[in-house]
Each structure stands twice: as C-alpha cells, then as structure tokens.
Amino acid sequence: MAVGQSHIRKDVRAKVTGKTRYTDDFSMPGMLQAKYVRSEIAHGLVKSIDTSAALAMPGVEAVFTYEDVPKIHFPTAGHPFSLDPDHQDVADRLLLTDHVRYHGDEVAIVVARDLLSAEKAAKAVKVEYEELPVCVTSEAALAKDAPAIHEGGNIIKSTTFEIGGTISDAEKEADTVVEGTYSTPIILHCHLENHTAYAYMDDNDHLVIVSSTQIPHICRRIVGQALDMPWPKIRVIKPYIGGGFGNKQDVVLEPMVAFLTRKLGGIPVKIEMSREECLVATRTRHSQTVTVRAGVTITGTIKFLDLNVVSNTGAYASHGHSIPMAAGSKSCNLYPKSVTRFSATTHYGNIPAAGAMRAYGSPQLFFGIECALEQAARKIGMDSVEFRIKNSARPGDIVPKTGTNEHSVGMVECLEKGRELIDWDRKKEEFASQEGALRRGLGVASFSYGSGTYPACVEIAGCRLVLNQDGTVHMQIGATEIGQGSDTALAQMAAETLGIEYDAVHVVSEQDTDVSPFDPGAYASRQTYVAAPAVHRAAKKLKTKILEHCHLMTGDEVENLDLVDGKIIRRGQMENVVLELSKLALDSYYHKERGGQLTAEVSSKTCTNAPSYGCTFVDLEVDIEMCIVTIKQIINVHDAGKIIHPLSAEGQVHGGMAMGVGMALFEELLIDPESGWIYNGNLLDYKIPTCMDIPDLEGAFVETFDPTSPYGNKSLGEPPIISQGPAIRNAIWDATGVKIDEMPMTPKVLFKHFANAGLI
C-alpha cells in the first residue's frame, strides 16, 4: 500500500544537496536585469518624470515609464477564468501607473546589463508628485469625503448572505447574546524565495516566462490579457519554488518581464525582487475588522452567528472580495445548526495590495467567531470544550456551502482528542486560582474549511502517465509542487492504483504550460483533493492498457489479470506471475507490430467540496510584568480525511501552527496612518518567528475517510494556520482575566491591555 505511508519525499534528496533548481538558479547569455522605480509616497499623481540621468548611466539599456505601457487594465488574482463576467476578477492594474496608490507603487522600470547598474539607475529616475490625501485605515477609506483610490470609489463590493433560517427568528430563541469586535493585522507571507521571473522570446510571436509561481496556467492567461496576446502564444515554466503561501497565487512580475522582452526584441529580461520589495510590493494578508454577535441558549446551543467583516484590500483589488466571502462560506461548516448571517465589505486603501494568504480570510474570521463564542461559553458558565462539542458539526449534517451531507465529519473527535492530549480537565483545575506575575491559562478554538473552491470556481485537474521502457512510470500533473509535498502524495496515489512501487513513479515536478496537463495550480488546499480523481482515473486507464497489452502478448484474458507490485499476475494469485512489467514495457515500445507507448491522460472536474475540520489547544504562561506570553504546550488536531503521507501531513500542521503563532503573537506590517509610510518592510523589523520563538509543536489527526475522494483525503495545506489566534487569546484571557481582541498580541499590546485592567 503506497497511500498512508511516509515514503521518502520525491524531491528531498535533491533538496538536501542543493540540486533542486529554482528560478534564480537558471541564467541565459545576455540576460538583462530590470528594477522598478517605486513611489516614495502612498497616494498621488505623477506630475513629471525625468529618466535622462538614469538613461545616461553605464550599463543601462532602457527605461520605461507609465507612458510606455499598454493602457490595458488587467486582473492579477490567481483564480481560474470565469465564464460569468460578473464573477471575473477586478481588472484594475496597469503595468506601470501615474496614479500611485501605496508607498512602493510602480511608476517606471529600468533595464540594465546587471542588477547593480539597474539599482543605481532606478534611484536616478526623478519623479515629482502631486500628493493626494492618504487612506490607510478602513475608517479613512470608507469616510464620505475620502479620495477615490480607484475610479468608482473605494468600496469594491459589499454583500450579505443568510443561511439556516433568519437572524430575527433565531434571536427570539437565544437566551443571551454576546458581541465583540476583533481586529487582525496585515501579515506578510515571507516565503524564503523572493518573487523572481524572467522572460524571453523563442519566436517572433512566442514568449517564454520562467517564474516562481504557484499558478503557471493562470499566469499564462493573465499575461495574455495584460499584453493582449493569444494565450497559447505564451509559455510559462515553473521550476522548483521556494514557498508561496498564496503570495505566488497572484500574477506579480510575469506580465512585466513579458512586456520588457517584447519591447527589447526578445532578449531575456529578469526581475528579481529584493527581500524588501518582496515584503511590501507583492501581496499581503488582509487586515480585517470582524464584528460578531452570537446568540446562545442557557443550555449552550448556538442559535445564531451574525458576522460582519470589513476587509481592507489595499491599493489594488487582487483577490479582493473573494477573501472574506470564501471564509464566510467555509465557516458555516463548523456549527451548521446555527443560523448564520454573513456580511462583508471589501474596500481599497493606500496600503500594499492584499491577496491570497494561507487559509484565505479564515484566520481573521475565526478569530472573531471563536473569541465571541468563548465569551458566550463563559457567560453561560459552560466549559469551553463542552460548549464547542455540543454545537460542532456531526456526520449527516448538511454542509451549507454545497447543500449535501455526504461527507466525513470528525470535529467532535478532534475536540475530544485535543482535550485528552493537553490534559484539559486536570489543568483547568490546577490553573483555577492564581496570583502573582506569572499565570497559566488554557485556550481552545475550532475551525472548518473546504477542499478547493467549488462551486465558486471551476475545479479542474489533469494527469498524464507514461509507461517507460523499464516498467517505471513518468507522471505529469498540472498540480504544482510548492514545498507542500503534492508530488509525493500524488505519486503515492498513482502507485497505489496502478499496482506498482512508489519508487517506480517518477514525477515531472516542473510545470510547463506548453506541455503539462491543465490545472490552475496550488491554492485553496485543493491539490491532493482535486488532483486525486484525475490521478485515480489515469492510473486505472493505464493499468487497463497494460493488462490489454499483456493479453496481446500472452493471450490471457484481461479480466483474469492484475498488476500488483510491478508484476502482472493472475488475479488473486500473488505468486502466479504472468509477466514482469519491465518486459511488457519493452515489448510495448519495440515489438514491430503490436502495442505502442502506453500512456493515459485524464482531465477531470471535481464538483464536490469536502469540509475539513480541526482545533487548537494551548497551554501558556503569561509574565504580566514583562508583558510576555510563553507557550508551554500547543496542539492542533485535524480531520483531514485519510492521511496520505503522515510525515508530510504533520509537517504541514507544524508549518501552519508556527505561522499561526506568528500572527497571534509577533507579526504585523506597520504603516503610518497619516502618511502611509511603511515602517517595517524588512526581515529584521517584521518579526517572523525564529526557532527560539516557536514552542514544540504537536499535530494529531482524527482520520476519517471522505467518500468524495477516491483516496478518502480532504484539505490540509491551509487549515493548520486558522485557530491559533483565538486559542491563544482565549488562553491569555483564562490566565489573566483580560480579553485581548486584537492580533498580534505583542508585548506592547499586552502592556496596553494589562495597564488598562490595572494589572500593572
């Protein structure tokens, strides 16, 4: 059995020896380097731009400004194309702009023979601005007299849905109502590999882009839109990529490198972002304000959740309104018997553009939901875990998003398992009455998520299998490996269904839109779920072809044959080997009359969306005087269906937990509310946790088998990051009696709240 075992990752030996090649590890003769000229102000119009000094500098090949680029507004969000014009992404970008909308916006670009010359020349471009009022906060951007950041005003969209009944009816059944407003910071992805891309032309009308992207096929389409080129004239290649976390689920550099190489006659042109550029001039996680009203009965039944999100998407829409809406619909899976009303407003602001980031709005929304529900549980005097168990989804509950109930649900078991692992009941008692500067507290928070984007977007995946001469199989997939381990998981699936060894499956890790099967890419925790059916069907198809070829060779009837462990046997008789696969493979290629290269290719659409579940338990200590939180124990428990690769699954959980701890306790992009000036756009001042800051991380699973996937699996890439924030906040409350309704809960924030509470 290949599925369910921690096989050696496909890429790991190459990675530990440094042999995996990322975009920056390729170079081409004559490759030019480009550097953006970025605005020093957060909002304004370019009055004049002087490129003469830059052009005169040695090594400089060209300078392009907003005047030189096509006047085509294009979208950048990494969503599949939509046939419904109303569902298409907001097209609000130009390649370069004379209306700068955040500190760092792109007004010109310098192309030079080397990076240092490009950097120097970019500094020599003189730009004069007419400054416009700056809107950093939601309050400023939504004010009546706010300046329009884009034509048509600052609100991108405002929508509401209500499911499971009406709030007005549910209010009548609730004994008590709690309310709260919760705010979350701008978070940066901080993948270790910065954004980088280069492009060249290999024909007069054919363009090649090599890029560190999660979404090569989407990238191809958007470059086509931005440059008004037929999509098939563009080829996007994705080599190994050093993390993305959603920041590379957006088209950032590719249209520009494509534009530049076309302008310069097809010479290779590269843009490699500096770390500082990558932090502020790509995408961020939306800062949101979540207002929650929750109605519960005295016995602890949640009757309604009334949720309102204000989401600041920054200078450009990018994924825009999809972020709160996706989170809103996925959140309804958790407490499906409650009425939910969800409203969201997404608006522009003069801050870096926010886009997709791991768990896509859910960490923000669940910070609101799980903090408010903690308040409800405490108000009615019910244990926090019991309260959640009572209300959690159970098998058979209708999933509001898809209206079906044919899914696995292990939420209650997750809570029970977490409670046991952290020794909740004993510690609750132990921490009950404490005094002094050091205090311990316990917290819990749950979440629900989805597996993919259906029905909001098309879910399409592709797999091509080729039997090699030696009986091994090459697998090409449209799904992109970005570090999460999808190549390995999909290879396990192929091996399992084909009946060959895991080691006999070679995955072509690179995606090339001219060659790879179609798949929009890595996002929405979709890949193992959505690619599974394609892999499954392709493997079955190839297996049939193999057995049919065996029939041609031996005359045995196909229905009497099977492929097990790389050998063709008589069905049900392991010892009765008919043919070694390697022999069959050679025959299929080189026999002069029969057979041919045995391949199978499947493109499949997935029209289900399995909900996944889980929770975080945390035990922490607060040093009140020092305003420091120390996590003593933190556990995530997940229902992600069948676990395909336990070691990688745990790795996903650890990584998500650490990011969640970062968001809860350390990270925020700080921007001056008056000027829009970014204070901490570097890795020293933007505090992603080091190993000294992360406690031991414990991941546990409640394995279910989801009937909508051929291998029983559900999403796991994003879910691990969702529930640390509220769990930690609830534990700090438990320890100190102080409710902190904002993230990150840094020492200076704790100081403010502890001082207000009279603790210090």
Partner: protein, 155 residues
C-alpha cells in the same frame, strides 16, 4: 573594476582566481555553480546563504568574496560525497525536515557546523535551537529541523 587574486578551496577543491572586490562570497559561489547557496535577504537576516568558512558558519551574503582568500569553504553540495548523503542530510530526509527546500542547504550547513563544534557534548533541545537561530524557515515551524539536528547528532 578592482580585483584581487585569491586562492581558496571549495568543498576540498583548490581554486585560484581574480575576484571583483564588490562581490559577496554568495555572489561568487553562485556564479561558480554552487547554487545551493540561496539568497533570501542579502543582509544576514535569514541564513539561506549559510556556508562554512574554515568550518565556521557565516552568512555568505554578508561576507566579501575576497575574505575567502586562503580559506576552506564548504557548501551543501560538498557534504554529499560519492553520492552518499552526510549524516546531517540523511537526518533531514528521515525527519521530514524539508518542504520547499529553499532554506534547506543553509540549514544543513548550520546544523553541520553546530554539531561539529559540539561533538561529544550532550545537548538540550534548547541548545540545539540556539545553534539554529540564525536561519529562518517559513514552512516547517522548525519542529522537524530541530528533530533532524538532534537525530544527526546521534549518528
């Protein structure tokens, strides 16, 4: 362009060359094909470019190439000898300490120097963490990396 002639060894192989004084050791190594040396920040904040200079770990992005004169440089490429992974590399594989892999070669070198320096000492998890505090990783939460360093220490 100002150059200086330097002699050095990289992964036990001798080299002599004229080096542009403006280059970092990271620039030099990458140009020579040692692309395991990754640039994550260019200012010593992430550790992705960690190499060993006379067995001492340094951020090669903050180290002038000319300083490598008469020094022995080690990179992740050189730790794998005759196709056999080093004990540290092996431990990273076994413990699942690799995801996107971009921080990996730098971390492999950080672990290697840390364990060589502390050979024979009994190390707490906290001490192991301190030895890896100069390398950022955004994928693993460090859990399996620290596990791998501990495992490698026992090999």
């Amino acid at each position: 362009m100002q150059t200086i002639n330097i002699k050095l060894t990289i992964n036990n192989k001798k080299y002599e060359m004229d080096v542009d004084i403006r280059k970092s050791l990271m620039d030099l190594l990458r140009e020579m094909g040692f692309t395991s040396v990754k640039q994550g920040c260019g200012v010593g904040e992430c550790g992705a470019c960690t190499v060993l200079v006379d067995d001492v770990s340094v951020d090669s992005c903050l180290y002038l190439a000319v300083w490598a004169n008469n020094k022995a440089i080690r990179t992740a490429e050189g730790e794998c000898k005759d196709g056999r992974l080093s004990p540290v590399q092996e431990a990273y594989v076994e413990e699942g300490a690799v995801q996107c892999g971009f921080c990996t070669p730098g971390l492999i070198m950080a672990t290697t120097s840390f364990l060589e320096k502390n050979k024979g000492k009994k190390l707490s998890r906290e001490e192991v963490k301190k030895g890896h505090a100069g390398n950022l990783c955004r994928c693993t939460g460090y859990q399996t990396i620290i596990n791998a360093a501990i495992t490698a220490g026992k090999k």
